[in-house]
């Protein structure tokens, strides 16, 4: 097969201070079996041999679990398909002659580092103020089966805990809100007896940090849920709001 011809319009930005611009690249003989990032590898190989700088982008596991890859493709985080990350997107989702726009995540709290690479350390900062159970790693806790946990709660905790921290929810939100990310962690831990004890303080601290870092508010558009590669549910935001509200009321007493 001869493969596809494509026109790429890629965001190029030398560093945080640079203004940045879209640059056009023509691609030929792209196999539909390639992953999207392998297509980017082909582009970069060409650029290097020409003596140009390759396009910088974050990627690591290339199987949809590490959360590194983060491309805004034709106006959608992780591209046109649902429930996958950029690295799981394959070129058979495009057709010969297509023009593809590739941009970084856009959010004040995720400044661009270079080209398509952004700084997502704000997510780490949110977790650091409370996204854990405060237990030491002694190994001398109680037996793992000492507290039975209803399967339905364990499953809900698991579903929320599958968040990969990629930031697609923030990138797609018109307010750059981190509510889905933050609520997923609050919800994961609040569904388990081990995390219940600190649930309200956790919600207060994490929400406060989220606001401080410049993430916007939630206006219930719901785009985050649609674009989340792991299908994290909006229900988590409702749970977080409940925890936050009751914690705020207690704090006022």
């Amino acid at each position: 097969m001869a493969g596809m011809n494509l026109t790429l319009k890629v965001w190029r930005q030398k560093g945080a201070q640079d203004k940045g611009r879209i640059v056009e690249y023509k691609m030929s003989a792209i196999s539909p079996d390639m992953s999207f990032l392998e297509m980017m590898d082909v582009l970069n190989d060409k650029l290097i041999l020409k003596g140009d700088e390759p396009v910088a982008f974050d990627h690591d596991c290339r199987e949809g679990i590490c959360g590194s890859c983060s491309m805004y493709i034709n106006g959608e985080p992780h591209g046109p398909e649902n429930l996958i990350t950029t690295c799981q997107l394959h070129m058979r989702s495009f057709k010969d002659g297509d023009t593809i726009y590739i941009e970084p995540w856009r959010a004040a709290a995720f400044p661009v580092v270079k080209d398509l690479v952004v700084d997502r350390s704000a997510f780490d900062a949110i977790i650091q103020v409370g996204g854990y159970v405060s237990v030491n790693t002694s190994g001398n806790t109680q037996d793992a089966n000492a507290i039975p946990i209803p399967k339905v709660d364990a499953d809900k905790a698991f579903d929320a805990a599958t968040c990969i921290g990629c930031g697609a929810c923030v990138a797609t939100c018109k307010n750059s809100s981190a509510m889905l990310f933050t609520s997923a962690k609050i919800s994961h831990l609040a569904h388990l007896p081990q995390g219940k004890v600190e649930a309200q303080q956790r919600a207060l601290n994490m929400v406060e940090k989220m606001d401080e870092l410049g993430f916007g508010n939630c206006t219930n558009t719901g785009d985050c849920e649609v674009q989340c590669p792991k299908g994290i549910s909006l229900d988590n935001i409702a749970l977080m709001n409940r925890e936050f509200l009751s914690a705020s009321l207690k704090a006022e007493k």
């Binding site: 030398k14 560093g15 079996d33 990032l37 392998e38 297509m39 590898d41 650029l47 290097i48 041999l49 003596g51 700088e53 390759p54 910088a56 990627h59 690591d60 596991c61 290339r62 199987e63 679990i65 590490c66 959360g67 590194s68 799981q88 394959h90 580092v113 270079k114 690479v117 700084d119 997502r120 350390s121 997510f123 780490d124 977790i127 650091q128 103020v129 854990y132 159970v133 237990v135 030491n136 790693t137 002694s138 190994g139 109680q142 793992a144 089966n145 039975p148 946990i149 209803p150 399967k151 364990a154 905790a157 698991f158 805990a161 599958t162 921290g165 994961h188 831990l189 388990l192 081990q194």
Partner: protein, 646 residues
């Protein structure tokens, strides 16, 4: 010949770890805050170690090359984690987990280390549940188990197909808690470039800030390497793109030994390569072999017709299919261990029966299971895996058999360590996949996660304290020492070299060539002739690499090609060492299959009389053949037997 000391405590096997903990020296809490520890890597071993040491009150500096510690490649582990809890009441015990691990490792691991691993395995599950790791549960609310990889008990704990993710997030959260408390300082997007030794002891590292390009000095009283395995020496593997050997390799070059490097694990069920553009391989969980039947056509012309696209699997009559695992291993059938299944696939494909364009694929067929159990039952068991397969290949595995082929998955070899997980360099420790210690020549499924967390949470905190007890009066280590200056100079010279080389070929060009040589000649099966050819070919690649490698961009900025260049330079050297190691081991055991050493039926032939040792290689300088140092393994509790799956 130089001796290596394993430092295993005296006494009966089951008492050694208890005795060690009772005798170990401690550091008083008020002294701990004056002692610095560097941990390189934030996977299960590194993340758990940094969190635990920080919690104890040491001053920890944690490094990872990713943009967040949560992205370390432990996150991609699918299946589960073993622990001898015996919740299923099926006869499990610490001893049985120990026995299975030593036997599964084809008797090339150290009894005392493996016993300790089995002993602390139960603490891991308790610890993770306390942290909020959402393991799978039964309707009664208690933890569920599954069986895994050819053992006779159900001891594997899991969280759907994302066990590694959930355990890593647990360790990441524990680490985040310490970062908040100020006991751990996190250095994201930093790459460790060199170990710094002062008076023979590890006293720090040189790291490059990958965003600014700045070369930084970091001092400490002890350094832990927990940077994972080296499967990417093959270019194509199930490892993440950034997984690399650099931290381990720099440790080796600074005086630590590199052990058993030829012991690599090849996983039989991965999605086959589709073309030259391929950048990585995706694993399909081993659990698929519980219900899938592996076959190739009996007739070569059928295999060719399928490869050309004129026939499909569905056109091949039942009588014309060769279920070769069931034929060769009637007792275990499709459930033979990973190494045996992988070699059998290679044998059929090499003989011309491969079923895709590249000739390197076999069928994994669920039609019998679908007929027996119904499509819904198969979907309930494997639905997410079938969906993942379809996303990647655009073929529906409910209708058309999957195509699979073996791929590099895990490396048993690594930095040599003693019982304390300390390398031959005092103060330099290695943990998790980066060390060689617990899996011998072959790792059992669901044991990698167990080892990473055991090393990080429960072993290193004791052994490092024991070491640091002598450092309480040392005071702060100064980065002005000439050793830091020299190491920094070496690092900068190498970076400058890459930036100024102006060659004609990309880093990936060399990496792919290296990978091809390694896969063909130091992969699933090895021969003296092939390994000698490989050594000559890798030498040529190495020479050409240094002449022709091209790194664009600038040093003082994010430069991913520069990062790759340094990593590939180390992989090339490692490839040579692996061939030396494979050449010197004149036996077949575990993942290491030497064609000269097989039974008339083509099975692996171990040689316990002459090769019951760890091959620990010592660096002797540029262009010098490394020195082989042997640590003889003593089996006092387990009788050595030939594995048979017939």
């Amino acid at each position: 010949m130089q001796e290596l000391f394993d430092n295993i405590p005296e006494g009966p096997l089951a008492d050694k770890w208890t005795k060690f903990k009772a005798d170990a020296k401690l550091v008083n809490p008020s002294n701990r805050r004056n002692i610095d520890v560097i941990v390189v890597g934030t996977g299960l071993a590194g993340g758990a170690a940094a969190a635990s040491l920080g919690e104890m009150g040491f001053n920890v500096k944690s490094f990872c090359f990713q943009d967040s510690p949560r992205r370390a490649h432990s996150i991609a582990a699918q299946g589960g984690i073993n622990a001898a809890k015996n919740y299923q009441n099926d006869g499990d015990s610490t001893y049985r987990l120990f026995y299975d691990t030593v036997k599964g490792g084809d008797y090339r691991s150290r009894e005392a280390n493996v016993y300790r691993l089995a002993e602390v395995s139960t603490n891991i599950i308790d610890q993770c549940v306390a942290q909020g790791v959402p393991f799978a549960r039964e309707y009664g609310g208690l933890l569920d188990n599954r069986s895994f990889g050819g053992v006779q008990v159900q001891r594997t704990f899991y969280a759907k197909g994302q066990t590694g993710q959930q355990l890593l997030i647990g360790a990441y959260q524990a680490l985040s808690r310490q970062i908040h408390k100020g006991t751990v300082t996190m250095y994201n997007r930093h790459e460790m470039m060199e170990v710094v030794k002062i008076d023979g002891k590890a006293r720090g590292i040189i790291a490059r800030n990958l965003i600014t390009g700045e070369v930084e000095r970091h001092a400490a009283h002890a350094v832990v390497i927990a940077s994972g395995g080296y499967g990417n020496v093959y270019f194509l593997s199930t490892n993440a793109m950034g997984s690399n050997v650099t931290a381990s390799w720099k440790s080796y070059k600074s005086g630590a030994h590199f052990a058993n490097s030829c012991f690599v694990q090849i996983h039989p069920t991965c999605i086959p390569v589709t073309g030259d553009h391929q950048s990585k391989l995706t694993l399909m969980s081993e659990s698929l072999r519980n219900d899938g039947r592996i076959w190739v056509p009996k007739k070569k012309e059928d295999a060719q017709a399928i490869a050309n696209g004129t026939k499909t699997a569905l056109d091949i009559a039942e009588d014309d299919r060769d279920y070769y695992l069931e034929r060769r291993y009637p007792a275990f059938g499709n459930l033979v261990p990973r190494d045996v299944a992988s070699r059998a696939s290679k044998e059929r494909c090499d003989a011309g029966y491969g079923v895709n364009k590249t000739g390197q694929a076999v069928f994994l067929d669920f039609s019998a299971a679908i007929n027996r159990l119904g499509k819904d039952a198969v979907e309930a068991r494997y639905g997410n895996l079938f969906q993942m397969y379809e996303k990647i290949t655009a073929e529906n595995p409910y209708v058309m058999p999957m195509k699979i082929y073996p791929a590099i998955h895990y490396t048993m070899g690594g930095v040599w360590v003693d019982y304390n997980l300390q390398t031959a360099v005092p103060g330099l420790f290695a943990a998790g996949e980066a060390n060689f210690s617990d899996h011998g020549a072959n790792r059992l499924g669901a044991s990698a996660l167990m080892q990473g967390l055991a090393d990080g949470y429960f072993v290193l905190p004791y052994t490092i304290s024991n070491y640091l007890a002598d450092d309480i009066t040392t005071g702060e280590i100064s980065t002005d020492h000439s050793a830091f200056e020299q190491s920094e100079k070496n690092v900068k010279e190498r970076l400058d070299f890459f930036m100024n080389n102006n060659g004609s070929k990309t880093v990936d060009h060399f990496h792919k060539r290296l990978g091809k040589v390694m896969w063909e000649k130091c992969g699933m099966s090895r021969s003296k002739e092939g390994l000698e050819e490989a050594l000559a070919e890798i030498k040529a690649i190495r020479e050409e690499f240094w002449k022709e490698v091209k790194v664009p961009g600038v040093q003082n900025s994010l430069n991913q090609e520069l990062e790759k260049a340094g990593r590939v330079a180390d992989f090339i050297e490692l490839g040579e060492l692996m061939c030396h190691d494979a050449l010197s081991r004149e036996e077949s055991c575990g993942g290491h299959f030497r064609e000269e050493h097989q039974t008339p039926e083509g099975e692996a032939l171990r040689n316990d009389k002459d090769y019951s040792y760890v091959s620990a290689w010592k660096y002797k300088g540029e262009n010098q053949t490394p020195e082989l140092v042997k640590e003889h393994l003593k089996f006092e509790n387990i009788e050595l037997k030939q594995r048979s799956y017939k």
